[in-house]
């Protein structure tokens, strides 16, 4: 075994790439859940975003348009969920699970023509001066725009929830929809917007996989990333910065175990492959071990249907 073949700088740079899709999906889901909606369809919205983004990018040969297409695709799928759960009051858990299955199916259908096609390359930003700084440069300043956008979204969501009236109203709706309604806030409209935002973020995450990380289209390529994003939101106690930590931890261990496999570590591959899932959940469980405080942070109306009776 040769551990010296692992370059720590490349490892950190790679973990950011590996973590970004999950980060995007998770931060979107965080907003949805803060509004009191449990959308289990993240996996389906991610893979729909992956194929929509891939198809648009290939057809237009423009990765930026591809990402926009991915966001729209994910949002469109999430709005189906929103319509069913918010207006027709269907069960959120069942509808979310159905959305995942539907997303996997429709993405395979759209993707038939794109198997084996190469997408246009998304250029890395090469920030002058900063990217030449040793160690920090390659880690922080030689990524593509989506990495910085995902970090911007996390910071934006944190600021929005904590300091703005929009965020306060969103949290209020997720906390007690009956009281929010009695005060005159449009519960359903706010939730629909949150759901669409969550869908768009999941779509972006999916497109990051198909256009940058892999970059190729294969059926079922999200491989459970949406589920890990859902788990991260819960174990991060609905806190944006902890979502970032969880996603990067997951990405980091994913990359590390790949490197360890390549270095020929004498542990069966199956154990290495399951390690990111196990370790991420474990760390976040320990962080949220204080049950009473973690429970306080959970949106009280999460998953409960709202019907304005009066």
């Amino acid at each position: 075994m040769d551990l010296s073949s692992i370059d720590p700088i490349l490892l950190i740079a790679a973990l950011i790439v590996a973590a970004t899709p999950i980060l995007l999906a998770a931060i979107g889901e965080l907003v949805v859940e803060k509004a009191g909606v449990l959308n289990l369809g993240v996996e389906g919205m991610m893979i729909t975003g992956a194929i929509c983004g891939f198809a648009v990018a290939v057809e237009t040969q423009n990765p930026a348009l591809g990402f926009i297409g991915a966001a729209l695709g994910g949002a469109a799928l999430s709005l189906i969920f929103g319509f069913l759960t918010q207006y027709l009051l269907s069960n959120q858990v069942a509808t979310g699970l159905a959305l995942t299955l539907f997303g996997l199916g429709i993405s395979a259908l759209i993707g038939q023509a794109y198997i084996g096609v190469k997408p246009p390359i998304t250029a890395d930003l090469d920030i002058p001066l900063l990217s030449d700084v040793p160690v920090i440069g390659p880690i922080l300043f030689q990524h593509n725009l989506m990495v910085y956008l995902s970090l911007g979204i996390v910071a934006g969501v944190w600021y929005l929830l904590k300091y703005t009236r929009v965020g306060l109203v969103l949290r209020a709706v997720g906390e007690n929809h009956d009281a929010a309604h009695a005060l005159g806030y449009k519960v359903v409209r706010i939730r629909m917007l949150a759901i669409a935002f969550g869908g768009a973020c999941a779509g972006l995450g999916g497109a990051y996989l198909s256009l940058i990380r892999v970059p190729q289209w294969t059926e079922g390529m999200t491989a459970g990333a949406g589920w890990i994003a859902l788990a991260i939101v819960v174990f991060a106690s609905w806190k944006p910065w902890r979502v970032l930590l969880g996603a990067y931890l997951f990405g980091g261990i994913t990359v590390l175990q790949l490197n360890l496999q390549a270095a020929g570590l004498k542990i069966p591959v199956e154990y290495l492959s399951m390690s990111p899932y196990l370790i991420t959940i474990l760390v976040l469980v320990i962080m949220s071990a204080d049950r009473s405080r973690a429970a306080l942070n959970a949106p009280a109306a999460l998953g409960r249907p709202f019907h304005a009776s009066s």
């Binding site: 209020a172 906390e175 007690n176 009956d178 005060l183 009473s292 306080l296 009066s310």
Partner: protein, 507 residues
């Protein structure tokens, strides 16, 4: 006579199957404290929701300061100067006081200014509050202060209060009334909804009484007796409960050193509770909501088990037994929450009768159910307690609160308990049904049962119980005979006013 602030003119609102308001008219002048009286389902809530913009009338008109007034949303109503304190608090437990206040305002100032203004208003009106505290940690009285301050910060012209005193101690009620009188002296009109008649007589200048959606009387409540008002509300004369004057016999239920952990995160648990109830005695347990009432019921019914010696029935230790074992011994209970705890909402009345009656009424044998017997038992309850329902096969959910409560209490009484524990037996029940339930409890005591009545309605406890004790953060005060007990003494037993001060009326 000053010009009216708000006038309601011939307002009608119908829902499918029921007319909530029919041709309702009344007026409120600036500075007036106007009571809206009526039983549950008389249409008070619907009327208030129309004024607050949550519901629109089918016909009729409202006028504010002479101009037409038809708020399409609560925001519009708030902008017009109407504020409302809700019956079930419309607060967000996970958010702090300032955030809760900001959510109820149209244009909240910046957080720092808002915190300062909350402190100013709370001091002016004698309602101390820390803007940074999380609402989930506050007592019921403090939560109500949050709602009131949220309203006051908008300088309302009309303040609507929906059953504001149901969760307060008598001292807290006094302070609330002083705040309201100060507001009224400043020219704010108050629409006060309640069915506590003595309070209305003490506070209000005028009263509009609703029955089945119609105005049946407009009067000055200070010139009527509580009894006259009640009979206007109900539309019938009310029977005074008959105490029978049974002499308490041997000790049936003996509780000593009962300590249990809270059943849920917001519970308080019980600490070293001790009391005894004799044959033929009604023991009243008062206290502000959330001081361990639910834990006490659960510990006595067997939902929470305790040390065997903590609870004794006729001298036999039963503290470690579960609900079914205790039922077979003769301890029965009727919990507070009708839908979900006392009855399964989507199951029929027959099934609900069977759920607690199986053991004592012999409705099952070797795991098989005797449906004909269960139906007969349900029919007996319905007949004996005047439960208004199309039939025993209907779901518990379809009954009105009062009828379901009569069913739940009747179901336990017909099982001939030796000890019956009831929590809030007449909560949300109309006056006629409440009187029937109280009489049934008293009759049971006369027949020799020991009865524990846990209630937040002090008038009810004083009316039917022989001895009284109060729960305060899970501890029970030493019991005292009800006869000769004054409201002040009861208030002190309940823990008095939680750090409240009297409004600075001089300012």
């Amino acid at each position: 006579m000053t010009a009216p602030l708000l006038s309601i003119e011939n307002v009608t609102k119908a829902y499918p199957g029921v007319v909530a308001n029919s041709d309702v008219s009344f007026e409120i002048t600036p500075g007036e404290v106007h009571a809206l009286l009526g039983e549950n389902g008389a249409g008070k809530s619907t009327l208030v929701k129309m004024i607050y913009g949550l519901v629109r009338p089918d016909s009729g008109a409202m006028r504010l300061n002479g101009g037409p007034f038809a708020p399409p949303t609560p925001n519009a109503a708030r902008q017009a100067g109407i504020a409302m304190v809700f019956q079930h608090f419309s607060l967000f437990e996970a958010l702090d006081v300032a955030e809760n206040v900001a959510l109820g305002m149209e244009n909240p100032p910046r957080p720092r200014d808002l915190a300062r203004r909350i402190r100013e208003v709370s001091e002016t009106y004698g309602l101390p509050l820390d803007p940074a505290r999380r609402v989930g940690d506050l007592s019921a009285g403090e939560r109500q202060r949050v709602e009131i301050i949220r309203c006051l910060l908008q300088d309302p012209k009309l303040l609507i209060m929906d059953e504001p005193t149901s969760v307060l101690t008598p001292q807290e009620v006094d302070i609330l009334f002083q705040t309201l009188r100060k507001l009224s002296a400043e020219g704010t009109a108050i629409l006060y909804i309640s069915h506590k008649l003595e309070e209305i007589r003490a506070l209000c200048d005028a009263a509009t009484i609703l029955r089945r959606g119609e105005v049946v009387a407009t009067c000055d409540p200070r010139e009527k007796s509580a009894r006259e008002l009640a009979e206007l509300m109900v539309g019938a004369t009310l029977a005074v409960p008959n105490r029978g004057g049974a002499v308490p016999g041997d000790v049936r239920l003996e509780v000593s050193g009962l300590t249990v952990a809270p059943a849920n995160r917001f519970g308080t648990g019980l600490r070293d509770v001790a009391f005894e109830v004799r044959r033929g005695e009604v023991f009243g347990v008062g206290g502000v909501a959330g001081n361990g009432q639910e834990d006490l019921l659960a510990a006595l019914s067997g939902e929470i088990t305790a040390a065997p010696e903590a609870i004794r029935l006729d001298g036999v230790a039963v503290g470690h037994l579960g609900p079914n074992k205790r039922r077979s011994l003769g301890i029965l209970a009727a919990p507070e929450e009708r839908l979900g705890h006392a009855a399964a909402p989507d199951m029929s009345l027959i099934e609900n009768a069977l759920l607690t009656g199986e053991i004592r009424e012999g409705l099952g044998r070797r795991g098989f159910l005797n449906w004909p017997a269960a139906r007969r038992f349900a029919d007996r309850i319905i007949e004996g307690f005047d439960v208004r329902t199309p039939g025993p096969a209907h779901a518990a959910r379809s009954l009105s609160g009062g009828n379901l409560q009569k069913f739940v209490i009747g179901r336990e009484i017909l099982q001939r308990p030796d000890v019956l524990i009831v929590n809030q037996p007449t909560w949300g029940v109309d006056a006629a049904a409440a009187a029937a339930i109280r009489q049934a409890l008293l009759n049971l005591a006369i027949e020799g049962a020991a009865i524990v009545v846990i209630s937040q309605d002090l008038d009810e406890i004083l009316e039917i119980s022989d001895r009284f004790a109060a729960l305060n953060e899970g501890r029970l005060t030493p019991p005292r005979p009800t006869q000769g007990l004054t409201m002040e003494e009861i208030g002190l037993m309940m823990g008095g006013a939680h750090d409240m001060e009297v409004a600075h009326v001089a300012e």
